[in-house]
């Protein structure tokens, strides 16, 4: 029952000659979080022109973190933080209400009929974790389906909640777009009533989003299969620049009558990363059920950390409920999304100008903060070692880290490290290789990939 502890070899601390062994001898060093490890490596690099394209935190064109003006105004209005615990409940409820309106639509039935159970959560991570624990508690035998690939922490979250996971096809490495046919197949073949995690916009890490038409088909199939859709909404506003537009997938599911679950994060779209503000909501039959579910969600969070920190919640509820500040926020979100779109176009043009024969259209096809570049692990390592450009091993580039000043350098570096790919491409073009999938986009400049995928749908 008790793990035997080993005598420590040869050490003795001068303060306690009797202490020979540690309780923690068998604790091995944890693997570094893959995303944070990139930042660590970046920070350790002394090179003055190093570039961090790792973590998905927005930067302005100077490469600086941004505190949004709407946040400053909200702070100005709320004055010194409201520390009184008595008002916490009211502010929390307000946050939930405003968050629900934002994602489900102010005029939606679920809002009017108050058919949702919601609690503030510790950003997107916290919202996902509470849901995972809730899922485990009330559907103990269930699994969760993740898109392949997905954000690296999803697996840890559901894993630590003891919910096993499976994947469904999502990203097509050849087309660098959506593998829609395989996606639909997997949805169809999953047992009825499975839990699925979906990202409604600006998919992390690929930047590949289904089209509206594809969402409609996915939603229909979900209805037939009675699957439970859980949406992880980390980038509302960041994909298109328009918060309503970015909520389309969810609105489609609502129209179809799904009772979904939703994790929302305000880390990126309000720049409130460090404040840990988010919301978990679950749609219900009616107000009564909403109260019951909310009580269960609260119990899970009470046991995990008590209540969520009030400062960030106050800011978000102020921003969303004050029309002037909200209007300002919407403008600022558009600015951020637009800058990223501009950097995508610029990076792609720069690569094409360098004469790269490789297909870079995915840089502008993909959406949101991230670009799944298609770079191999070896190329990523080379970028770090030789060019001091840091990104995650899967080749995910945080476009927020690209600026007008560094985009040419980034393009040149990518061009350099993909030299061997170019050789393969040249060989391919002269017929030395066959490419054999009809989903794959094989020629430069076509946008037929997703259209083809749709025609092959059920």
């Amino acid at each position: 029952m008790i793990i035997s502890r080993f005598l420590r070899r040869g050490i003795s601390t001068s303060t306690s000659p009797t202490r020979r062994r540690s309780w923690w001898d068998h604790v091995t060093p944890a693997l570094k979080d893959p995303i944070n490890a990139v930042t660590d490596a970046f920070l350790a690099d002394p090179c003055p022109y190093k570039i961090n394209l790792g973590v998905g935190a927005y930067r302005d064109d100077e490469g600086k973190p941004v505190v949004l003006q709407c946040v400053r105004e909200a702070e100005g209005k709320t004055g010194a933080t409201n520390f009184l615990e008595s008002t916490s409940t009211a502010i929390s409820s307000k946050l939930v209400e405003e968050s629900a309106k934002l994602i489900y639509g102010e005029d939606s039935d679920v809002i009017k009929e108050r058919r949702f159970a919601g609690i503030p959560a510790l950003s997107g991570t916290g919202a996902c974790r509470i849901f995972a624990e809730f899922q485990k508690q009330f559907y103990p035998g269930s699994t969760i389906y993740f898109p392949d690939p997905t954000w690296s922490n999803h697996r840890n979250i559901w894993g630590d909640a003891h919910v096993p996971d499976r994947t469904f096809h999502y990203y097509h490495p050849d087309s660098k777009g959506l593998n829609f046919v395989a996606l639909m197949d997997d949805v169809k073949n999953a047992p009825d009533g499975s839990f699925f995690l979906l990202q409604p916009c600006a998919h992390n890490p690929t930047g590949v989003d289904p089209t509206d038409e594809q969402w409609l088909e996915i939603s229909s199939l979900f209805k037939v299969k009675n699957h439970f859709p859980f949406f992880d909404v980390a980038y509302q506003g960041f994909a298109s620049g328009d918060v309503e537009r970015d909520a389309q997938a969810i609105r489609i599911f609502l129209e179809d009558g799904h009772s979904i679950g939703c994790a929302q994060s305000f880390a990126k779209n309000m720049g409130l990363y460090g404040h840990r503000v988010g919301c978990l909501s679950i749609l219900c039959n009616d107000k009564i059920q909403a109260v019951a579910i909310k009580s269960q969600l609260k119990q899970i969070s009470n046991t995990m950390y008590g209540s969520p920190p009030i400062h960030g919640i106050s800011l978000v509820s102020k921003i969303l409920s004050n029309p002037d500040i909200k209007a300002l926020w919407l403008k600022e979100v558009k600015v951020m999304a637009t800058r990223i779109q501009r950097m995508r176009a610029t990076l792609r043009e720069a690569l094409e100008r360098l004469g790269s024969p490789l297909n870079w259209q995915h840089i502008t096809n993909q959406v949101g903060m991230f670009c799944f570049s298609g770079l191999t692990r070896a190329e990523v390592d080379q970028l770090a070692k030789e060019f001091h450009i840091y990104m995650t091993h899967d080749g995910r580039i945080s476009m927020a880290g690209v600026t007008t000043k560094n985009v040419d350098y980034v393009a040149r570096a990518i061009h350099e490290v993909t030299a061997s790919d170019r050789d393969i491409k040249i060989l391919h073009n002269i017929g030395a290789y066959k490419v054999n999938t009809d989903i794959c986009s094989t020629s430069l400049g076509t946008k037929k990939t997703r259209a083809r995928g749709m025609n092959l749908a059920l």
């Binding site: 103990p140 009533g193 009558g257 679950i282 008590g306």
Partner: protein, 460 residues
């Protein structure tokens, strides 16, 4: 009316104890839907046409209300009461003599400074704000403590006491599977929930002696001795919640002896550093004594009460290890646990604490405010004791009111007597007989004394 609300509030968390003991590994607290299969697949009728295609029916149909929190339920009942002499002695939140919530001056200053600085809101590292982690460990162990100088403490910022306890619980579950945590009987209600949800088995050691309204020291020592070697012993560093009964320094030494002898791990929950005696250093004495013996210790801290930062959720988990290398490994695993819980902790509270504790002027001010708050509670204890002694002619020994320490006092009243306190006297308290002195004013001590005397003598 009030009593109906209270009967709801009287559901104790011990209900989950039996669930846990019986269904270890199968947490189904609150789950009424026993079917393993998806209810939608059976063509089940919900009063309309049974359907294969889902419409608006929720798959969480069978979910019932979670039991109300016994402590917060008291405040709700209090709010609903219109009696002019009502007293809320439920939740342990500090109130002024005017019974108003109190935002410390240092907090206002620190918060203003933060607003002016206008720092960015970037993610903290998973382990939290470095400046905070440094000062919080120093506050608990002492700036010059060898364990700090030798870098033998793994400190990770947590979400107040609750969140920090949860990190430690998860660490125990992962690295000491099957090991038990021993908690005092009684203890703070959420302790059991935290260990249940973290899937860590627990059992109780005797603590409160209703006969003496004091510490059952022999029972405590016997139960700690009887626990399987290598158990985790959860100790309240100071100002025990809910009893207010702390071991004496001599008793602490015996406790440490037994823990060492049985190869247990001491696990401190320090939620009231400063609130017990009024001195931050004095209140850390028990933890420091264990550490000075060279023991490896786990310690959870909270700034909810002593800095009034309830709403900001700021605390820390510390694991004192026998080497800096072990501390580094343990810290990495605490981070590994935190990442899928919430990725990284909230920044605001951490900055406030770092600014206060790290600034000598503000720190001094805080010490003074701490003394003031603890002082008010001591005064109230004295007044209550005087009122009880002078009004009660039965000769009952009320001195436990003075001996107990911190925000809470265990009155020794049983449930029926507590009900009488509420129903007849409009005094709101938890059913275990706990009153929060932080919610009592000098002006109302006599009234409270009347209520207690009446309930004790006239109700059984």
């Amino acid at each position: 009316m009030a009593s109906t609300l209270l009967s709801l509030a009287s559901a104790t968390p011990s209900a989950s104890l039996s669930f846990h003991e019986i269904n270890k590994g199968k947490l189904n607290r609150g789950c009424m839907n026993k079917e393993k299969t998806n209810p939608f697949i059976k063509a089940k009728s919900f009063g309309r046409v049974s359907m294969v295609v889902a419409s608006n029916v929720s798959r969480f149909e069978g979910i019932t209300m979670a039991p109300p929190d016994p402590i917060l339920g008291v405040s709700e009942a209090f709010k609903a009461d219109n009696h002019e002499l009502k007293l809320n002695l439920g939740v342990g939140a500090y109130r002024t003599e005017e019974l108003q919530p109190y935002v410390l001056d240092v907090i206002k200053k620190a918060d203003k400074l933060l607003l002016e600085k206008g720092e960015n809101r970037e993610y903290l590292p998973i382990e939290g704000l470095a400046a905070f982690n440094k000062v919080t460990a120093e506050l608990l162990f002492g700036v010059d403590n060898p364990v700090i100088r030798q870098q033998r403490v793994a400190t990770v910022q947590g979400l107040s006491g609750t969140g920090s306890l949860r990190l430690a619980a998860a660490l125990i579950e992962r690295y000491f599977p099957g090991a038990k945590v021993l908690i005092s009987s009684p203890t703070w209600g959420n302790h059991k929930n935290i260990f249940n949800d973290a899937r860590v088995p627990w059992s109780e050691y005797r603590y409160y002696d209703p006969k003496t309204v004091g510490l059952d020291f022999e029972g405590m020592i016997a139960d700690i001795k009887a626990a399987p070697e290598g158990s985790f012993i959860l100790l309240h560093g100071c100002a025990h919640n809910p009893t207010g009964i702390d071991p004496t320094p001599e008793e602490w030494r015996v406790i440490a002896d037994v823990i060492q002898e049985k190869n247990h791990i001491p696990f401190f929950d320090i939620a009231y550093q400063g609130f017990a005696s009024g001195s931050l250093d004095t209140d850390a004495a028990s933890v420091r004594m264990f550490v000075a013996r060279g023991m490896e210790v786990i310690a959870a801290q909270s700034y909810s009460k002593n800095l009034g930062l309830y709403a900001e959720r700021i605390g820390a988990i510390n694991v004192v290890c026998s080497s800096p290398e072990a501390a580094a490994r343990v810290k990495s695993q605490l981070k590994r646990i935190a990442r899928p819980l919430y990725s990284n902790p909230p920044v605001h509270g951490a900055r406030i604490v770092a600014n206060i504790v790290g600034d000598s002027a503000l720190f001094k001010e805080w010490n003074a405010e701490m003394e003031m708050m603890a002082g008010r509670i001591k005064n109230v204890r004295h007044k209550l004791f005087d009122s009880l002694s002078s009004k009660d002619k039965s000769g009952k020994d009320w001195s436990f009111v003075l001996k107990q320490i911190g925000m809470f006092s265990f009155t020794g009243l049983n449930k029926a007597q507590c009900d009488n306190m509420t129903n007849k006297w409009h005094v709101y308290m938890t059913k275990d007989g706990r009153i929060s002195l932080a919610g009592l004013s000098l002006a109302q001590c006599e009234y409270l004394a009347d209520a207690i005397i009446d309930s004790y003598h006239n109700v059984s």
